[in-house]
């Protein structure tokens, strides 16, 4: 009997007395014997412990006498099988023992199953678990008892408040407040929670992915229509101060080598949004913090400048201290000091819900809709942050640093039709007409704002916004432009049903003007918006008419469905539209995934969200954002930044998660990564990789030098003279570099070097590649001196690369990127259907160790278990998990038959490209080493192998700048 079968049998036989089972195997018995012996017993066993009373008459002494005489009685058995005589006493004794055993077996219930579950199939009935009367009468008593017991247990768990009480407005609000004490909710939380899988990340509750199956639908929305994302969890920091002071302070965090900085002309005028990677102060190229986007307030007469820095919340804990040191900001300031207006605003808002119970009562009676509550809640929560300071001021530089997180909401629209969605959803504010004296109560900012200059600006912005309708795709506008706007309340123009907005073909826009817009972009006169002013923002937030009131007014309208005219009470909302560029790099699908970001003052989240959704935008979560960046070929923070602190934290969490998932499966049902030759399937050991490549290059150089000394032929890839020169440079560099932080690596972000590497990666004899495009960077055979000059100053650098698979296969994360052997490439040339080489199966040496350990433990478990365990743990420093390499990892580069140069960060089948695509990081030294050895027409070919597979697949490597 096999193991599993045996165990099953054992379990079945657990409560069966041994004497009875023994009888069935009696060699001397004939087949007829089963009628009174084993056969009957087997039947009993099937019935389990349910019918002891009825089974009794079955015992052989009464029912089956003639047969018994034939069979089971050993004393008088002859060779023919017929007993000559029966001794009554012994016979009765034997039977009595059997009966006893049977009764025992029958009375023992073998699990915690309920009575009806033990019935045979043909006696089961529907609804037996709830209705006692469906159970056979003789079992009813037992079943009733069981039912009562279960119901008692249930009652104890029930909540102390009724559902009605819990759903009452005030209680609900309290409950919501309690639930978001740890993780904040966005304004659209409840909308999302109904439709999305929510995750708690970075101090927020965020929608991960929709519960509906919509992978492709979301992709289609991104490509053809519009995908909407709530990015309000992004943090916003506001820096105010003199332009020179700000630039001087921020210059310490950035470097010109990585591209544009805060001082870029286009961004400084406030016309464009910029993006860059921030480093720790004066630490470039080591210790990057992460990517940020920034936006300058358009210049006015005054000297004071305002700058918003937007970044991911994972970055917050690293970035704010850095900014504080750079700006020399001291202790936090109480909010009332820097700006007098906001403090008053804050206090009033704080007071509103709390002081008297009148307001609460009224609300409770009327039952405000959920969105309203959350909005209210947010206003209160965010303006009175418990203990966390949100404002810092520097005495020396005069820079004020303020945390505007959740003060301004940010929605992202991705896709070609985001134009028409926006232009359908938003209506530029109607101008101020003189009204009666109602406006004092409503503290509207709009009448004051409507002066001569601003009206001119408003009209201009309005015209531009209407022109946008004529542009088919956001990819046709220059990247990063900013358009300020003041719009009407979007709830007033909400359609009755969800519609899908399409570009209107009947109204052709002015071609000339559109052409001008696409070429010139939005001019910087159109970018200012009152949203920059905190007082205006607060006023807008406060003056929002509640949903319920609005609905009531809508109800009272004479012509149902017509537009509500609120007159002076209507709020005008200042917003900011920021263009997001699509795919910029690479050859294919240029401009894919472009769209608009919309910035809204807080409190208005749901109003805008619903209005955008009602125009046919599809909502996406974190996963969709990840996919968007993957198809776009850009790195996503914090997933793809393993050199940043936030990236390290992320990969640590990811490893834990993956390991837990791996350990949940039994060893036979999960891949044995040791046998697959995957050393680190859950966490890429970047540090070890770069160190090993540094060593490889060093030894190679030394070999080259020594060969030259002996007068031997120089190495084929490079001449010895250049090499020795390179070595000298490198050694000097290393001495310099390794002393401060030996255990460090960074991702290469120097744009000139990246451009050079990118040019080298392309095959030289490709079709349709124009020479002038990269005339400066020669794509000929890499001069080894140049290669060394690049890799020498950056010995521990990684390069972001994009891989696209030549044939089938889709790479997963943590897949290996390897250098193909010359033989592999020859095979590929010879046979076009050649998929790739195979890795031979590795041997798992640890399996034996684990087995031994287990045996030892088992053997020692009854006696001195603790002692053996102590020995075991001392023998093996880290815990052994079958199928995974224990902690001191072997050499990564040379572990497999092909030399590893890097790992894949994220990979999937790309619906845009129609093949497997991946974003990976490779060691710069390894990449250059590979490129220098490859033939010119097959340059940039690598092998990719998933951690749970032995098959290598060919891929083209691209460095995109």
């Amino acid at each position: 009997m096999s193991g599993a079968k045996g165990r099953k049998y054992e379990k079945k036989m657990k409560y069966q007395p041994t004497s009875v089972t023994f009888h069935t195997g009696d060699p001397g018995g004939s087949s007829s014997k089963n009628y009174n012996g084993a056969g009957a017993q087997q039947q009993e066993r099937k019935y389990g412990g349910v019918q002891p009373q009825r089974d009794q008459p079955w015992t052989p002494s009464s029912g089956f006498k003639p047969y018994q005489e034939q069979s089971d009685y050993r004393d008088g058995q002859t060779s023919q099988g017929f007993p000559k005589y029966i001794t009554a006493t012994t016979f009765a004794q034997a039977r009595a023992a059997e009966v006893k055993a049977m009764l025992k077996a029958v009375s023992n219930k073998n699990s915690n199953s309920q009575v009806f579950q033990a019935l045979p199939k043909h006696m089961r009935r529907r609804a037996m678990s709830s209705n006692v009367k469906r159970i056979p009468r003789r079992l009813r008593a037992i079943a009733k008892r069981e039912l009562e017991k279960a119901s008692q247990q249930k009652k104890e768990q029930s909540k102390n408040k009724s559902r009605k009480a819990r759903r009452r407005h005030g209680n609900l609000l309290l409950e919501f407040n309690r639930r978001q004490r740890k993780n904040l909710w966005l304004e659209t939380h409840i909308w999302h929670a109904k439709r999305f899988h929510m995750v708690k990340k970075w101090g927020y509750c965020l929608g991960d992915k929709p519960t509906s199956k919509c992978y492709r639908a979301c992709y289609r929305a991104m490509t053809k229509h519009c995908l909407l994302q709530d990015l309000s969890y992004y943090c916003c920091l506001e820096l105010t101060g003199g332009e020179n002071e700000l630039l001087k302070a921020l210059a310490r965090l950035t470097n010109r080598e990585t591209g544009l900085t805060f001082a870029a002309v286009g961004c400084l005028s406030g016309k464009r949004q910029g993006s860059l990677v921030i480093y720790k102060a004066d630490k470039y190229p080591l210790e990057p913090l992460g990517p940020v986007t920034f936006l300058w307030k358009p210049k006015k007469m005054s000297e004071e400048r305002q700058l918003w820095i937007w970044f991911h919340p994972a970055l917050k804990q690293d970035l704010i201290p850095q900014l504080k040191t750079v700006c020399q900001c001291g202790e936090p300031v109480v909010q009332s000091i820097p700006l007098p207006e906001p403090s008053t605003v804050v206090s009033t808002v704080e007071e509103m819900p709390e002081p008297v119970s009148v307001g609460c009562k009224r609300k409770r009676k009327e039952g405000t809709p959920l969105e309203e509550i959350t909005a209210k809640k947010f206003i209160r929560e965010r303006t009175s942050p418990p203990l966390i300071p949100a404002c810092w001021k520097s005495q020396t530089t005069g820079i004020v640093l303020r945390d505007l997180t959740l003060e301004i909401l940010r929605y992202r629209l991705i896709g070609p039709l985001s134009h028409s969605v926006l232009s359908d959803a938003l209506y530029p504010a109607s101008l101020w007409k003189i009204f009666h004296s109602q406006d004092e109560k409503h503290c509207s900012w709009w009448p004051e704002y409507c002066n001569e200059d601003n009206l001119f600006l408003h009209e201009r912005q309005q015209n531009l916004f209407q022109l946008l309708r004529g542009i088919a795709s956001p990819a046709e506008i220059s990247a990063g432009t900013v358009l300020g706007l003041v719009v009407d309340d979007p709830r007033l123009t909400l359609p009755r049903k969800r519609t899908k907005s399409m570009p209107d073909l009947s109204v052709l826009p002015d071609f000339e003007k559109v052409q001008q817009l696409t070429v010139e972009g939005i001019t910087d006169e159109a970018s200012p918006s009152p949203i920059w002013d905190q007082a205006v923002r607060d006023c807008v937030t406060r003056s929002k008419i509640s949903e319920q009131e609005l609905n009531r007014m809508k109800m009272e309208i004479l012509v149902p469905g017509s537009r509500l005219d609120l007159g002076a009470k209507e709020s005008k909302i200042p917003i900011l539209l920021i263009h997001q560029s699509g795919k910029l790099t690479g050859q294919e699908c240029l401009g894919w995934g472009s769209g608009w970001d919309i910035l809204i003052p807080k409190g208005w989240g749901m109003a805008f969200w619903i209005s955008l959704i009602y125009r046919g935008a599809r909502a996406g979560g974190l996963q969709e954002g990840l996919k968007h960046s993957q198809h776009k070929g850009t790195a996503h923070f914090p997933n793809d930044f393993p050199d940043c602190a936030a990236g390290v934290r992320f990969s640590g969490e990811q490893e834990k998660e993956l390991l837990d998932k791996y350990k949940r499966r039994p060893p036979s049902k999960r891949p044995n990564y040791i046998k697959h030759g995957s050393v680190a399937p859950f966490l890429c050991p970047w540090q070890q990789l770069v160190e090993e490549w540094e060593m490889i290059l060093k030894t190679e150089d030394e070999r080259g030098v020594s060969e030259e000394h002996r007068g031997a032929l120089p190495a084929p890839e490079s001449s010895g003279e250049e090499k020795s020169k390179g070595v000298k440079v490198k050694c000097a560099d290393e001495e310099m570099k390794t002393s401060p932080g030996a255990a460090d690596f960074s991702i290469l972000r120097n744009r000139t070097v990246l451009k050079q590497v990118s040019a080298w990666c392309l095959p030289t004899s490709g079709k349709g590649k124009r020479a002038n495009r990269s005339a400066r960077f020669s794509r000929q055979q890499i001069p080894s001196g140049a290669a060394l000059s690049i890799s020498a100053p950056n010995p521990r650098c990684l390069v972001w690369t994009r891989l696209s698979l030549l044939k089938k296969g889709s790479p997963t994360s943590h897949a290996l990127i390897c250098i193909p052997d010359p033989g592999d490439i020859q095979m590929l040339c010879a046979d076009l259907t050649f998929c790739g080489p195979q890795e031979p199966k590795h041997k798992d040496h640890f399996k034996k160790k684990i087995k031994e350990l287990k045996k030892k433990k088992l053997a020692a478990s009854p006696g001195a278990s603790c002692k053996v365990q102590g020995i075991g743990s001392s023998e093996l420093p880290s815990k052994l998990i079958s199928g995974l390499w224990p902690e001191p990892l072997p050499s990564i580069t040379s572990h497999c038959t092909r030399v590893t140069i890097g790992f894949v960060l994220r990979g999937d089948f790309s619906l845009t490209a129609g093949c497997g695509e991946a974003l990976g990081l490779v060691s710069l030294a390894g990449l250059l080493h590979m490129l220098s050895q490859q033939a010119s027409d097959r340059k940039g070919l690598v092998l990719v192998r998933n951690p749970a597979s032995l098959q290598y697949r060919f891929a083209r490597i691209m460095v995109e700048v």
Partner: protein
């Protein structure tokens, strides 16, 4: 470079002798302007297989929904568009006729600055395009 700095910093039509300095700028081409598309418009590209595009046109013609179809080709795809139209005509045993129009399409290139002091430049470049109408000979009358 001097002419780029003046005024708003954007020169639309650059002199031919001006050459971009790759240290200061990166060239990024924008996609051609997307125009509203009818069901019987076919845009030819160089990425899709020739035969596939040919069968697509043939199917549209054979479906009977349209009396004519328009084949558009831009730049490198002009000759392929011509090829497809001619193939369609040759395969139809004289039933189909073609009429071609040429045009010029203005394309936009962005010159993204690499250094802080440089302004972003947008320039317009022209490319030739062809629009071939393929129609049934009988329907013309």
């Amino acid at each position: 470079m001097a002419e780029n700095r003046g005024g708003s910093g954007q020169s639309l039509h650059l002199k031919p002798e001006w050459e971009m300095d790759p240290a200061e700028y990166t060239l990024r081409k924008r996609l051609p302007r997307k125009l509203p598309k009818r069901r019987n418009d076919i845009y030819i590209n160089m990425k899709t297989n020739f035969r596939t595009q040919l069968t697509r046109c043939q199917k549209l013609l054979d479906s009977g929904q349209f009396t004519d179809i328009c084949i558009h080709g831009l730049g490198l795809a002009v000759h392929r568009a011509i090829n497809i139209a001619l193939q369609l005509q040759a395969n139809s045993f004289g039933e189909l006729q073609i009429s071609a129009n040429t045009s010029t399409v203005e394309l936009v290139d962005d010159l993204e600055p690499e250094v802080d002091h440089a302004e972003r430049i947008t320039q317009i470049r022209s490319n030739s395009a062809i629009h071939i109408r393929v129609f049934h000979a009988a329907s013309k009358a």
